[in-house]
Structures are given as C-alpha cells and as structure tokens.
Point group: C2
C-alpha cells in the first residue's frame, strides 16, 4: 500500500511547478501549496486543486510528504525554522546536501529531478532521471515508490555524488547553451540563419549514445590543424571573450588527445 | 535537363564517402574515384560501382563534375596541379575559399555539407544544410540543382560567410562534444552512469528551436550564485583544465548577462 498520499509543496518556481503538476497528473494529491509570493503561489495552487498559504505557521502539520522546492540560497534559512511531526521532508536541489534538513523531521530525503525546467514549457517526467537520497531505508523505499510513478529512471545517489552530478549538468547543459549562444551571435553578425547549425547540434547531442565520447571528437583541434585554429582566432580578433574560449578549449582538446589516446 | 551526369570523386575520407554514397542513392553516377591510398580508395569505389585510380594522370578528363573531398591541408597543393577541360570543379571544405580552385577549371564552386561525419555511421542528407558557392551564375545553378537532390536545405553562401559558419560549427559541435567528454570523465570518477545526463543533453539541444538562446540560460552563473560557483570550483580542485573552463565560461555568462539583458 502506498504510504505517501497527501503532499504539501513549498515553492512555486519552475521545479515546484513542473514537479507538482506531474504528481497531480499521476493521481497524487497536493493538499497545500506554500509560497511567500501570493500571486504565483495562488495561481499554481488553483491549477493543482490545492489550498494556498503564504505563512509558514499555517502549513498543514500532518501531510505524508513535504517537498521543499525552493531556491538553494533560501534552503538553509528555511530548513532551520521548519519542523514537522511525522511526515517526510525532502528538498529538490542538486547542490545541497541531505543534512541541511536534519532539524526538519526524523524522516528526511532528497528528490532531485535532473532536467532543465523553464516556465510555460511542458516537460514529461517519464524519462527524466530522479535521484533519491534518504536518511533511512524506509524513507528511501517510500520516495523510490513515489518517484517511480513519475519516471522510469529512478536512481539512488548520495549527496557527494549528487553534487558532482549537478556540476556535470552545468558543463553538459548550461555551458553548452552558452556555446550555442556564441554561435548564434556570430552567425547574426554575418547575416546567416541559426537554422544552419540545428542539424549539427542535434547530431552532436544524439551521438552521446556512445561511451568514450572523446573518440567522437572532430574538428581542427583534435586534428591539430594549427593553420585553421590560427585563422579562426584571427576571425575572432574583435570578440575577445569568444576568442578566449576558442583558445582554451582547443588547447585542452589537443592536451586531452595526447594524454588519453594511444598514439 | 540535368547537366551534371558523370561525377568524379577525389578522396575516400568521411565526407567523400558519405557524400558519394548519397549521390549514388539519388541515382547519380560516380564514374571514377581517385584516392592516393589504394585500400580505402578501392573499397569505396567498389561500393559506388566506380572505377578506381590512384594516379592524378589517370583521372577521366571529361566528367561533368569533380568533387575534391580531400583534407583542407592537402587542397592548396592538389589544386595547383589539377586541371580539367570543361567540367565543374568543387571542394567540400568549410574553411577554404573558392579562389583556391582558380587554376583547376573555368567553372568552379564549393559544395559544403554542414554536418559531422563519422566512419561507419550512416547519416541521411535529407535535412543537412548544403552550402553552395560558385564563380558563375550558370555553375551556381547546376550545383544548386544537384544539391537539391540530396537535401531540402540548400543555401547560397559566400566564402567569407562559410568560414564564419565553419567557425560557429566548432563552437556548437566540436566544443560541445568536449564539454560532454568532461562530464563523462567526472561522472566516471564518481561511479555515476553517463546515462543520467542524456535527457538533459537532448533537451538542451532541442531548445535551440528558439531564437535569443541566452534567454534560455539556466544554472549558477546566470543566477550569479557565487556560493555554488565557488563550491564547484572547489570540487574541481584536482582537475585544473576543467576548472579553468568552468571559471572562464561562468565569468563570461555573467558578463554577457550584464551586457545584453535589460536589467
């Protein structure tokens, strides 16, 4: 029998919104939504069919699960003032340890969905990795059961691993988007449509099916084609920031090749 | 009526191989394949139903089109010794100008497919951008007609634009793969499967449907979350190369935000 029936969600940002909508769509009940800002809080609460409060003192005391989907910066302060009698308390952060919740309940955990969420954009949770950590085997079991209702990809991961996972997501997601942004900016300056790069971007991302990704590395750096590298640095003469990135990553690709590839 | 009927392909690398297989699959005839190295040249020629030569002097003189799909480095030297009577001569390079072909024929051009090609991996040309340049309107028209048999995405692009396009492909393709490699390496060190990042990588690449990509930027840098940035730099203390990239890109994201986003 499922133990987690009534859920209180704290926060109304992107993670709170996507996660709670997904829970409701899987038949779970969000009984209450807490959010400091009334406008966004009320809007989300209505969507979920949940009651709304903007006061910590009015948070329902007997829910089965409290999901703290608030910003990393706000978590320590909030967790130091928040206590429940018997429910499980989890946060959803990639970069905050489990121990920050120690004073909130005897049953604590983490439920970290590894994806980039944006307002207004629906994302299905079906294949999103959900990383679970808990302070007790019983809590872990209940959280895994819940997470498996949302996704086919549920993983048990400790705080140390989760922090590194979050860091790698910065490289593979955030920094990648910045490289796309650079490309978009440069194409615009040459009256070229960004459309031209989309098939390449899709293919490069699709290639991660393989392991040993460096074996897929193409381009002037891995070929050590210094003539092209110099020409590219020259084309970027007026774009110091982009030139610095081109220079650093090219040098590292060459270095990586010499350190890792059997010559 | 189509003017280009008989094609000679020069080279047997990834571009030569993918391009010529695709031409044959669309009903065009590769009459001859030239390649210095006999093993790879003969293998590809057999696949294409083409004759094979490893001698420049034996290249057929009366083909309609000669495709120089040889490396950027080899192009200048090769083009200075190669002449045909009446056919069109094109190269397939993103970073080499049209003028390098000036002595090869009175009818010259470029046919640059913008994609990352790998040995053994079939890629459909249907949506790959093919960038065309030519020295005469008549040549341009013939090359466009040919390219449109391969792809629905044919663009006329001059040498200056093509060089910048190639440079942006380094950022959006090659450098992105290196960021994925870094993530793979770090996850391995923490006993985490790279699978965990695949949905994020796919979603980030799928997001390029939009324009103004910086508006999609998420993560600690764009939030100017210095506590997390410092923690991440600390986690990378033993990985100087990766730390340098994290530091540089994070600083640039913050700088870009201040320069471009209306505050």
């Amino acid at each position: 029998m499922d133990r987690i029936i009534n859920i209180v969600v704290l926060g109304a940002g992107n993670v709170a919104s996507h996660l709670s909508k997904s829970l409701v769509s899987k038949g779970l009940t969000i009984v209450q939504l807490y959010n400091r800002t009334e406008e966004s809080g009320l809007r989300l609460a209505r969507l979920l069919g949940a009651s709304y409060t903007n006061s910590v003192r009015n948070i329902l005391p007997d829910a089965d699960l409290y999901i703290l989907a608030i910003s990393d910066n706000a978590l320590p302060e909030f967790a130091s003032h928040f206590h429940v009698r018997k429910g499980i308390v989890v946060h959803t952060s990639g970069s905050v340890g489990l121990d920050i919740l120690q004073k909130t309940s005897t049953r604590i955990g983490v439920l970290y969905p590894l994806q980039t969420f944006r307002e207004g954009k629906h994302i299905s949770f079906d294949r999103i990795p959900i990383c679970i950590e808990a302070n007790k085997p019983g809590v872990e079991k209940e959280l895994v059961t819940l997470a498996e209702k949302l996704s086919t990809n549920v993983q048990i991961i400790n705080s140390r691993q989760r922090k590194m996972l979050h860091l790698t997501a910065v490289f593979a997601g955030n920094f990648t988007n910045y490289l796309y942004t650079i490309a978009e900016d440069l194409l615009l300056q040459y009256d070229l449509p960004f459309e031209l790069l989309k098939p390449l971007i899709k293919q490069t991302a699709a290639n991660v099916r393989h392991s040993d990704l460096f074996s897929l590395q193409t381009g002037p750096a891995v070929r050590e084609d210094t003539a092209i590298i110099e020409e590219h640095l020259g084309l970027l003469a007026n774009e110091k920031a982009y030139k610095d990135i081109y220079d650093l990553i090219s040098k590292q690709i060459i270095q990586y090749k010499h350190q890792h590839v059997k010559l």
